[in-house]
Amino acid sequence: MVAIVESTPAEDLSAPLGQIVAEYRIAPGTAIAYPVQAGQYLQILDVRGSQCSDFLAFAAADVSEELDSTVTRTLNNLAIPTIGLHGKYFSNRMRPLVEVIQDTCGRHDSFVLACTTKYYEDAGYPGHPSCSDNFNGVLQPYGIAPRPGWAAINFFFNTTVDDSGAIASGESWSRAGDYVLLRAHEDLLCASSACPDDIDPANGWQPTEIHVRIYDQGESFPKAIGRRATAESGLRLTQPSAFTPCIQRLTQDLSDYNGFWVPNRFTHHGLHDEYWALRERVVLMDLSALRKFEIAGADALPLLQQVFSRNVAAFAVGQSGYGCLLNRHGGMVDDGIVFRLGETEFRYVGNCDSDGDYLRRVAEQLGLRVTLQPVSDRWHNLAVQGPESRHLLRSLTEFAPASGLNALEDLGYFRFAAATIGGIPVVISRTGYTGELGYELFVHPRHGADLWQRLMTAGQPFDLLPMGMAALDRARIEAGLLAPGIEFDELVSPYQAGIGWAVAMKAKADFIGRAALERIKPYPPRVAVGLVLEGNEVACQGQCIHPPGDRGRIGQVTSATFSPILNRSIAMAQIVPDYADLGTRLEVGVMDGMKRRMAATVGPLAAFDPQKSRVRI
């Protein structure tokens, strides 16, 4: 079967990703059908932005086998496939037809039909064209019977399902040039629309064109999710770190975290195995997704004194400190670590690309003279964590003479120095995110693979394991360590998040957010606590917390897990201060909070080693 469609080169779009074998321009409010061969790539582009494109696919050999959105949701356990392990779109026979390779929009629909005549009729628009009718027209030549509504994958269609089950839709998130790139698993007949809906915001009230490019089977495009860090910044595709090629030899289970490919767990090991290696021996983790910025100049210290919660003036050169970037209402812009490299040189390591914009904006507003440079591409980092981490690194580490350090034991908690590890230049920092003795090694990406291999080899006598994000999350919850977007955001103060200790209220007379924090500190709206649950059921993020027997809510769970070392179900929660005393008995509401409750007791935020004795050894 061959689609009868004119090929139209695009002049209003960015350059093709590779060798194009066919391309089609879909006029606003129309649809096309077209063939795609096994192994070919199919790029569906939103030419002007905010335009939905519904998509159908049929096995060319037997068009009764078709892409099935319900099967796809079920097999992936996702509302829409995402790039990586769960990226395939399946047929009604549970076979993969296409796989998403790249996606620069990130919001699509798989729940509702392509728009139908009935939708328009009910809204008072009899005779309005619809995607379903347009599909009927273009599929008829292939002997495919018409349907009143097609259960399509609706690319760029912005829908959500809320807690009450209502499906809401709004203007598409896609911008001009946004696209999805799919790879065909077999020969297909595909159909795509440029949705004609102009009676609601779905297409921004103005249907526009969709462009389809088909690329040759010989192309090889990396899997990636495109994100924009800020409204103004360009697209950034998921990238490998310097260590990713080594990691991909040990696991296929990687996902996008903060713009980098990170492992979730390693083949033939897994969460518990990796977790125990951390708690009892030593593990190796790729934390390159952290963002690094260098701040230098005469006013670098005054800037950090303004935006960072700690008293950076008290840091010696070679010392670092954990804290948060604050906004004027006392919210946490991000958490991170400031390293003092010199009298007027600092490095900030946080979570967000937008931290740099924030620092720059504050410097401009305050008229401070600083140079601010994002250096994430120059410093990728490995964490070596666990009680044996010092033994592992001891024989490999040689400190730079200027550091004044002779042995690894001399490197104190939250201290760092230039060194070599097995001859590879690094910055070694005694910091971590696990609640264990550990080190972080910052290295230029060109040495990354070499460093990984050397550590894996040197770690064999210690039974070192690489550790993925699944085990890391369990460890950080046990240690009461915060996750951005979960325990805090810019509306949450450090007093609510549980790091009030990191606010230098006494040492700094003036800093951004101080006035707000002075008001918040005596009685924050909520405070962070740890919970130890009775029974073995694990709580979930967002579950409500109640006083025993009381219908009213006093807070909610932010993170929860089953602690292997404590053999208890634990949680981090944020609750109103009146109930935050250690030992207070509370209940976590399961489901609707009325059918069942789990009894819990308030404890320290860190359920494991709350005194932090292990990291200070």
């Binding site: 296929q252 289970d253 083949t267 090991h269 195995d273 990796e274 059921e537 694990v538 053999n567």
Partner: protein
């Protein structure tokens, strides 16, 4: 004909539920809490040996060399919220681990599982001509074996397919 390992009179016993991990710990000790899903460990109870495979946080499968009824009763009474049963629709064929590399060639692992070089005390899921298999490498009577668990209705066809595969 490929020589299989006789699994009789051993039995497969599944346990699952909110207290599955605690039930397994109660009978077999804290070592159970150290294995990840699709890893296994050798266990003992009242002097009898078995191998325990973890399937997720609270679900386990036991290859038990002792009395099946006694073990089911012991597990049921070990913790509150669990079920314990021998699944009637599940069956297994075992082979000497020496042929593991040849055996897994025709089996397509389900990502992210990998069958090549499957270590001792590890398992992985895959498909053989569309039929689902769980491949488990563990020790039975001190000998490494590779056990293929499958739906009972698929046993005949899988045996034939593997017989063909292992003999070229």
């Amino acid at each position: 004909m490929t020589l299989t390992v006789d699994l009789h009179p051993t039995s497969l016993i599944d346990l699952a539920g909110q207290d599955g991990l605690q039930g397994a710990i109660a009978l077999f000790g804290a070592q159970v809490n150290r294995i990840a899903p699709f890893q296994s460990t050798s266990v003992q109870w009242q002097g009898v040996s078995g191998s325990l495979l973890r399937l997720c946080e609270n679900n386990f499968r036991l290859r038990w060399q002792g009395d099946e009824t006694a073990m089911i009763g012991a597990l049921q009474s070990a913790a509150g919220s669990i079920w314990v049963r021998s699944l009637p629709w599940l069956t297994a064929i075992a082979y000497p681990a020496a042929i593991l590399d040849d055996l897994v060639i025709p089996i397509t692992p389900t990502p992210p599982h990998q069958l090549t070089g499957l270590p001792l005390h590890c398992a992985a899921v895959g498909r053989l001509e569309g039929r689902s298999l769980l491949v488990w490498h563990y020790g039975l009577d001190g000998q490494p074996v590779v056990e293929l668990q499958m739906a009972a209705v698929d046993q005949g066809i899988i045996s034939r397919l593997l017989g063909d595969a292992t003999h070229g």
